[in-house]
């Protein structure tokens, strides 16, 4: 009996500390995939229940983005990655302007898409990561009543105050990778100032409306 038990005890001794450590870190920060699942459901629920938000109301959307989304986004890194190596040449004021304009552009873009939110559900795809990873891709998809599911993935990095999103993938297209070319084109013709100008002009154009 004891002979049988011994390997089991040894196994237990080896793994208990590891398991305890994992549990401790999990408590310290919500795992990235759990965070995405919770956030996605929260946001879908908010849009579904708030008619003004669904219609793309800017004030409500700003409030949702600032209070619910942004705390979990490393937007500085997202903007820096999109600008690429030119980011270093920008002054702190220009960096702030770039972040503000980029944020406005993204909000404008998504505002029109909210009206199509109805009975979609978020389904998480398996997370392929090790517990000690500090940089992961979280995969999810939005399941619709008709048609193929919409793939939505996130690059996330672990920071002291939890996991932060720094890139988003919609239907296989990464946001940063796509904007990198867009921004580089503007910088190559007009420098950082030119990029800021193009972005703010774009943002001042009448917004694409969300009507179908």
């Amino acid at each position: 009996m004891t002979k049988r038990l011994l390997p089991f005890l040894l196994w237990l001794l080896m793994f208990v500390p590891a398991a305890a450590a994992t549990a401790a870190t999990a408590a310290a920060a919500e795992p990235p995939d759990r965070l995405i699942e919770r956030l996605s459901n929260e946001i879908l629920e908010r849009i579904r229940t708030d008619a003004a938000l669904k219609a793309g109301d800017r004030k409500k959307l700003d409030e949702l983005v600032d209070n619910t989304v942004m705390p979990h986004v490393d937007f500085r890194r997202m903007t820096a990655l999109s600008v690429g190596r030119n980011w270093r040449t920008a002054t702190p004021e220009q960096q702030q302007q770039l972040m503000d304009e980029f944020r406005a552009l993204l909000i404008r873009t998504y505002a029109g898409a909210l009206s199509s939110v109805a009975d979609q559900k978020v389904r998480m795809r398996p997370l392929r990561a090790n517990p000690q990873d500090t940089d992961v891709i979280v995969r999810s998809e939005v399941v619709q009543p008709r048609g193929e599911p919409i793939q939505l993935d996130y690059r996330m990095a672990r920071r002291t105050d939890g996991w932060k999103i720094y890139d988003v993938n919609v239907l296989g297209v990464w946001l940063v990778e796509t904007y990198r070319t867009q921004f580089a084109q503007e910088v190559s013709t007009g420098g950082i100032e030119g990029l800021i100008r193009s972005l703010s002009e774009k943002n001042r154009q009448p917004a694409a409306n969300g009507k179908t």
Binding site: A28, W87, L106, D135, L171, G172, E177, T178, R180, Q185
Partner: protein, 282 residues
């Protein structure tokens, strides 16, 4: 809808020549494709950019003049339920070719699932008017011959904008020929009905792109390169069914990542000292 027997069997000399041409084309895709991955500089992905931009402009003009107004009218005046049914019928016809491509890509289970979709929706779903297979757990997929070639290892090759057909690549463009052959609408006997079906499908597809188009309109600083980069990334993602390789971070050059944790000295305290930092080119 039984596939119609072809009027004349292709003569062997002709089909040999077609195969040679296809081989040469794929060889070119191989040669030019090595450097044409989505992450590479725009010049490598799009060596034909000046020509492509001209064709893009041409397509855009025609679209704005004819197709977009028609698609908008279709969306405004045809009741939603009818539009959904029409979309389902074409979607159902496409499922059979998707199943064939699943098989060619060595995915027998997916092939079986898509074939089941086609059978169920064609019968119980009344010629595909209703998609009853999706609620039964058989999810819709889309596979075409370009994806099959990609699965077989043919790289995308340079980006191409085809007249009227739009974004494509050196690999995907010739793949449209097998796609055309495998298209069940092509098998409709009566020429008039066939052309009506084509026309309706084009309008249906365009109407479904109206929303996406507005999104691009709002999001892009340069629509041409935005659509190009989106197309190439999306196709690569489709070839790998949503799980493209070599994607785990770092996908971005550390040089381009000035705000990465560690780059500015604020490494997360929780990172074990022994683990290599992910942004240091593992």
């Amino acid at each position: 809808m039984k596939p119609a027997p072809r009027a004349s069997r292709p003569n062997p000399r002709r089909s040999l020549r077609a195969w040679l041409a296809a081989g040469a084309w794929l060889g070119a895709a191989w040669l030019l494709g090595g450097c044409a991955t989505p992450g590479s500089p725009a010049a490598a992905r799009d060596p034909f950019e000046p020509m492509n931009r001209v064709v893009f402009q041409f397509n855009d003009t025609i679209d704005k003049a004819v197709l977009e107004p028609v698609a908008t009218g279709y969306q405004d005046y045809v009741p939603e339920n009818l539009r959904i049914a029409i979309g389902s019928v074409f979607g159902n016809l496409a499922d059979l070719w998707t199943a064939v491509n699943q098989l060619l890509q060595g995915k027998p289970l997916e092939a079986l699932s898509d074939l089941s979709r086609f059978v169920l929706n064609s019968t119980l779903g009344v010629a595909g008017l209703a998609d009853i297979a999706t609620p039964m757990g058989l999810e819709k997929h889309h596979e075409d011959f370009g994806q099959t070639l990609g699965r077989w290892g043919v790289p995308s090759g340079p980006y191409l904008v085809l007249p009227l057909l739009g974004p494509s690549s050196l690999r995907d463009a010739p793949a449209l020929i097998p796609d055309y052959r495998g298209d069940l609408v092509t098998a409709i006997d009566s020429k008039g009905e066939r052309n009506n079906a084509y026309l309706l499908r084009v309008i249906d597809t365009r109407a479904r792109l109206l929303r996406a188009e507005r999104l691009v309109e709002g999001a892009a600083l340069d629509r041409y390169s935005f659509i190009r980069d989106g197309y190439l990334q999306r196709r690569r993602n489709l070839v790998y069914d949503g799980n493209p390789p070599e994607e785990p971070p770092p996908a971005y050059d550390p040089e381009d990542d000035p705000e990465a944790p560690g780059a500015s000295g604020d490494a997360p305290a929780s990172a074990p000292a022994s683990a290599p930092r992910t942004d240091e080119n593992r």
